[in-house]
């Protein structure tokens, strides 16, 4: 790993960190790349790229089966990756970590397995108004299959969940609460600990969608006391196609398997199959071994940098960006919660987000324009779409300045 040691006085050495991300060296349309689409996916440090190369060059084999050396090597790397994720989330045991394709698959896994075991007609699932489609649709599908009902916690205009309303939605019919840790479209950091405590007081388990949280804040599933926690590797400097589900062991043991296949069994006859123990019960088929190993390298990198320093840096950038954008006439920030992670979502009076995205791209500034997979949230905000700049550890004040300068160009075009 290259120099990622924090500079003095407890600040990130962002210049050194940027050196670790080869993609940031390129120019786009003649301008230095200003990558502000980190909520969609983050860039990968050389350490992750190198780890993937090393895995495929030196360790690749199938896991949990072979007696040969390479298979043992691959199995060791895969098991070590699970332990790295356990430590990252501060879960109690590695068998509580299930490797999945990403947060979406993690949520679908819980919807299908917990749903099959515990959700019946007339039951209720509670989600929130600011959920990503991936934390809406799996529950809708479960409701359609079982006859259960979806209840939605409303939010304020600033983008904060109405906890009073939430409490009212928790009834003896509630079977699960599924809520995002950090909103991908607003940046709101939800008070997960309180949300969990209120649900647990009624015996209701809670799933937390951590896709937007893990790269930006320290996550401790035992402190949060949540029952399920999901995240995607690619949003935390890791490869695409890998992510993890944390589940409380007692719950995971009480649920039926997700998919059937190899690795998830302990014995199979045509009459009867015995399922494997945790975590393998939920990992049918050859897993994404390379992805898991790459994810572990990403977590190691982020941990070496220091998540507390990353959070402080992004918080500083968020404040800087919020102030800078507030000075642009006709710009309205969507998502102004008191507790926010590094998301600057906004609309401009005279320019549609898509036109903003195109003009910014020509200045080398990559942002997202659209509904951010949150169509119900857009409807709540009364806008068809927003523009969104999202921050990561390698972003600088100069990146924010480039965003602001490019937004001035947008305003000149649409003046």
């Amino acid at each position: 790993m290259t120099a990622v040691v924090p500079a003095g006085r407890g600040q990130l050495d962002v210049a050194a960190i940027r050196e670790d991300f080869p993609i940031l060296r390129q120019r786009v349309h003649g301008h230095p790349l200003v990558y502000l689409d980190n909520a969609a996916t983050t860039q990968k440090p050389q350490a992750v790229i190198d780890r993937l190369v090393r895995y495929y060059a030196e360790e690749n084999a199938n896991v949990h089966r072979g007696v040969h050396t390479l298979s043992a090597r691959a199995t060791d790397a895969y098991d070590a990756a699970r332990e790295t994720v356990r430590c990252f989330l501060n879960a109690g045991a590695a068998r509580e970590i299930i490797f999945v394709r990403g947060a979406t698959e993690g949520i679908n896994l819980v919807a299908q397995t917990y749903g099959r075991a515990h959700v019946r007609a007339g039951d209720e699932i509670v989600i929130s108004e600011m959920e990503h489609h991936s934390n809406i649709v799996p529950w809708q599908m479960l409701c359609a299959e079982t006859g259960a009902r979806l209840r939605v916690v409303p939010m304020t205009d600033a983008g904060e969940l109405r906890l009073d309303q939430y409490e009212r939605l928790l009834t003896d019919r509630t079977r699960l609460v599924a809520v995002t840790h950090v909103s991908n479209a607003l940046g709101t950091i939800n008070p997960v600990r309180s949300i969990v405590a209120l649900a647990h007081a009624r015996g209701v388990p809670v799933l937390v969608d951590g896709a937007q949280a893990v790269a930006h804040t320290r996550v401790d599933v035992r402190a949060l006391d949540c029952d399920f926690y999901v995240f995607s590797g690619h949003k935390v400097l890791g490869p695409t196609g890998i992510g993890a589900l944390y589940g409380r062991a007692a719950l995971l043991e009480s649920m039926p398997p997700y998919q059937g296949g190899g690795d998830m069994i302990s014995s199979v006859t045509f009459e009867r199959t015995l399922y494997n123990e945790l975590p393998y019960k939920y990992e049918a088929g050859t897993p994404n071994i390379g992805g898991a190993v790459g994810l572990a390298a990403a977590i190691d990198y982020l941990t070496a940098v220091g998540l507390d320093l990353v959070a402080a840096h992004e918080h500083d950038l968020l404040a800087y960006g919020t102030a800078a954008l507030s000075h642009i006439p006709g710009l309205r920030l969507t998502g102004t919660a008191a507790e926010k992670a590094g998301i600057l979502a906004f609309v401009l009076e005279d320019a549609h987000p898509h036109d903003i995205g195109t003009i910014l791209d020509r200045a080398g500034v990559a942002i997202r324009a659209g509904h951010h997979c949150c169509q119900p949230l857009m409807a709540r905000l009364g806008v068809p779409a927003t523009a969104r700049a999202s921050l990561a550890l390698y972003n600088t004040r100069e990146d924010v300045d480039a965003l602001v300068a490019a937004l001035r160009t947008v305003q000149e075009v649409f003046a």
């Binding site: 898509h354 036109d355 195109t358 020509r362």
Partner: protein, 148 residues
């Protein structure tokens, strides 16, 4: 600002975005709704058809400058044409916005203002949404058409 952006956001486009023409609903005619799920652009095209001739056309909805200006320019260029002529013009328009950006743009009158879209492949759907919707309205399919 770069030359390709100047091509895309020509004064004609900006003007039609700011003051879209025929931006109203028509009653008693055919209509269809178009939707681009990628960006949330949504518009309705209304038609009065007499025999085979489009005697009046209008649209309503929300979208980016390209989709709005394209819809506005389309209504201006279609009024008075037969459905067959409108369909043929859509084909030529689509060829123009999807042509390689080095090729000189076909002359489609006012619609030529949208030739700059060629340099922005991700915006082709914005420019063609109104036309897909027109096609559905002309075929009297009162249903949602999607660019996906």
């Amino acid at each position: 600002m770069s030359a390709d952006l100047d091509d895309l956001y020509q004064e004609v486009i900006l003007d039609h975005n700011r003051r879209p023409r025929n931006f109203r609903a028509l009653t008693d005619g055919r209509k269809a709704e178009g939707y681009n799920p990628l960006c949330g652009d949504r518009l309705t095209v209304y038609l009065h058809v007499d025999g085979d001739v489009i005697t009046d056309i209008s649209f309503q909805g929300s979208g980016c400058a390209i989709s709005k200006a394209s819809a506005s320019l389309m209504t201006e260029s279609i009024k008075g044409k037969t459905i067959a002529e409108a369909t043929a013009l859509f084909d030529r328009f689509r060829d123009m916005i999807m042509a390689p950006s080095e090729a000189p743009p076909a002359d489609l009158g006012k619609l030529t203002a949208l030739a700059g879209v060629r340099q922005f492949p991700v915006r082709v759907k914005c420019a063609s949404l109104a036309w897909h919707t027109l096609k559905a309205a002309a075929e009297a399919r009162d249903e949602m058409v999607s660019t996906e």
